[in-house]
């Protein structure tokens, strides 16, 4: 089964234009494991979403099947084998 990581338009150039990245999953995994798998070939993309400690950046939000991971268990949030993970740039800035 395949989970999907959907990228915001601003980050797609870092994955050769891909709008979403598939991750093959046989069983539920953590969000960290799914992002590691999705971003494996794209380390610069990975660094835009998470810092070197693995934490999701402050003004980036990640939704797992519509649930804000930061309000759940962060990078330890469970991701089902057919889940959709949205990476979103938060509404902030000036």
């Amino acid at each position: 089964m395949t989970a999907r990581v959907v990228l915001p338009g601003l980050l797609r150039d870092l994955a050769e234009g891909a709008a979403e990245l598939p991750v093959e999953l046989d069983q539920p995994a953590t969000l960290a494991e799914v992002l590691d798998a999705a971003f494996g070939p794209w380390p610069i993309l990975a660094s835009r979403v998470r810092d070197e400690r693995g934490e999701i950046r402050r003004h980036v939000n990640v939704f797992v099947d519509g649930e804000d991971a930061k309000r759940a268990e962060g990078v330890h949030t469970a991701v089902g084998p057919q889940a959709t993970v949205h990476v979103i740039n938060a509404v902030s800035g000036g």
Binding site: L10, L11, R48, D51, E52, R53, H59, S92, G93
Partner: protein
């Protein structure tokens, strides 16, 4: 005669990098923005290499910090896939921003970086990858270093041009630290610097809020420090300091720039006070000394009056002409240039976002 020179002024702003280019330092062409929507906090023109290299440190409020370099003067940019500056896992720390990039005066491959949080980093590949200086990171004072208004960072890195084992770093708010053993150990160098904001101990060993330090171009052990309320000179390579603020309109400001063509000559850009961050008397001005701070004179020809903007700690720099150009950028997005030592200024850019850093290079 006949050799074409080009001057490039790199203008790092709150929302990207612009490059102003000129062949005569009168007519300027502006190129940008590069890294749109990123705060460009640090910039190095590295002319030690066969091909000049630009290294730029910036951060996006969304996507975090990044460091990139260009070997074609800004046409294309390269980012290291694993990240140039990454805190080691055992530090449990994430990089927030790179505030300073400096070429080592002894080894043409070595570039130094100062970061937020308070880290000093050394690159041996021209600024592509860096290693954390553990001597400073492990310093017992580090947990007591504070944050200035812009954050807590190593904002000044001054390697000694004569002693490869000697270097000064400065931070807000922690003060000046020196190493004499190549970065293995670090000693605070703040004797004589007043910290009015620490009323229980206004002459502390460390904790001063130094804003910028500049090294004299003729006497390498002579340094000038613009502090949060106070301007000082050191004649012993950053160990002890004496006030040189007499004669200045105000002792507050952010930046200090040494004149690369003349010893004992320094420019400051005064700000009325920490509680009134506008130019003194609303006159945007530079203060210049030619006698190591004994006397100062106002330079404001060509600068706007009245003005209610100011100049941040790294938003001023010089080029490498025999008569060096002085450049500074303001928080309201204007950049001024002088090619006569500050006696007159002209505006070379306007309508930019607030200027965070300015660096200039002369290329043959």
């Amino acid at each position: 005669m006949g050799r074409m020179t080009q001057t490039i002024v790199g203008i790092g702003t709150r929302k990207g990098l612009w490059l102003a280019r000129s062949e005569d330092r009168r007519r300027w062409e502006l190129d940008g923005p590069h890294f749109l929507m990123s705060e460009v906090l640090s910039l190095l023109f590295d002319t030690r290499r066969e091909t000049p290299r630009m290294v730029v440190g910036f951060r996006s409020s969304h996507w975090g910090p990044s460091l990139q370099h260009s070997d074609d003067l800004g046409t294309t940019w390269v980012e290291h896939p694993e990240g140039s500056i990454r805190f080691p896992e055992d530090t449990d720390t994430a990089l927030k921003a790179t505030w300073q990039l400096v070429a080592d005066p002894h080894d043409p491959q070595v570039v130094w970086a100062g970061t937020e949080p308070h880290g000093l980093w050394r690159s041996e590949d021209g600024g592509e990858t860096f290693e954390l200086n553990r001597g400073l990171w492990d310093h017992p004072h580090r947990t007591q270093w504070g944050e200035g208004a812009g954050g807590g960072a190593i904002h000044t890195v001054l390697p000694s041009p004569t002693d490869a084992d000697s270097m000064l770093v400065a931070m807000s708010a922690g003060g000046v630290y020196n190493t004499r053993d190549g970065g293995q150990s670090w000693t605070p160098g703040n004797t004589g610097i007043h910290a009015y904001f620490m009323p229980h101990d206004p002459w502390p060993e460390f904790g001063q809020c130094v804003h910028k330090v500049a090294r004299d171009s003729a006497v390498p052990t002579r340094l000038y420090a613009q502090n949060h309320r106070g301007v000082y000179r050191s004649d012993d390579d950053g160990v002890t300091w004496t006030s040189i603020e007499a004669g200045l309109p105000t002792n507050f400001g952010m930046t200090a720039v040494a004149n690369p063509a003349q010893g004992d000559s320094v420019w400051l850009v005064p700000i009325a006070s920490d509680g009134e961050r506008i130019p003194p008397g609303a006159v945007l001005q530079v203060q210049r000394t030619d006698d190591a701070g004994a006397t100062w004179r106002t330079q404001d020809a060509g600068l706007p009056h009245p003005s209610y903007t100011n100049v941040l700690r790294d938003a001023a720099g010089t080029d490498q002409h025999d008569e060096p150009g002085l450049y500074f950028g303001t928080r309201n997005g204007e950049v001024y240039a002088s090619t006569d030592g500050g006696d007159s200024f002209s505006r070379i850019a306007e309508q930019l976002p607030d200027v965070l850093c300015v660096r200039a290079v002369t290329l043959q």
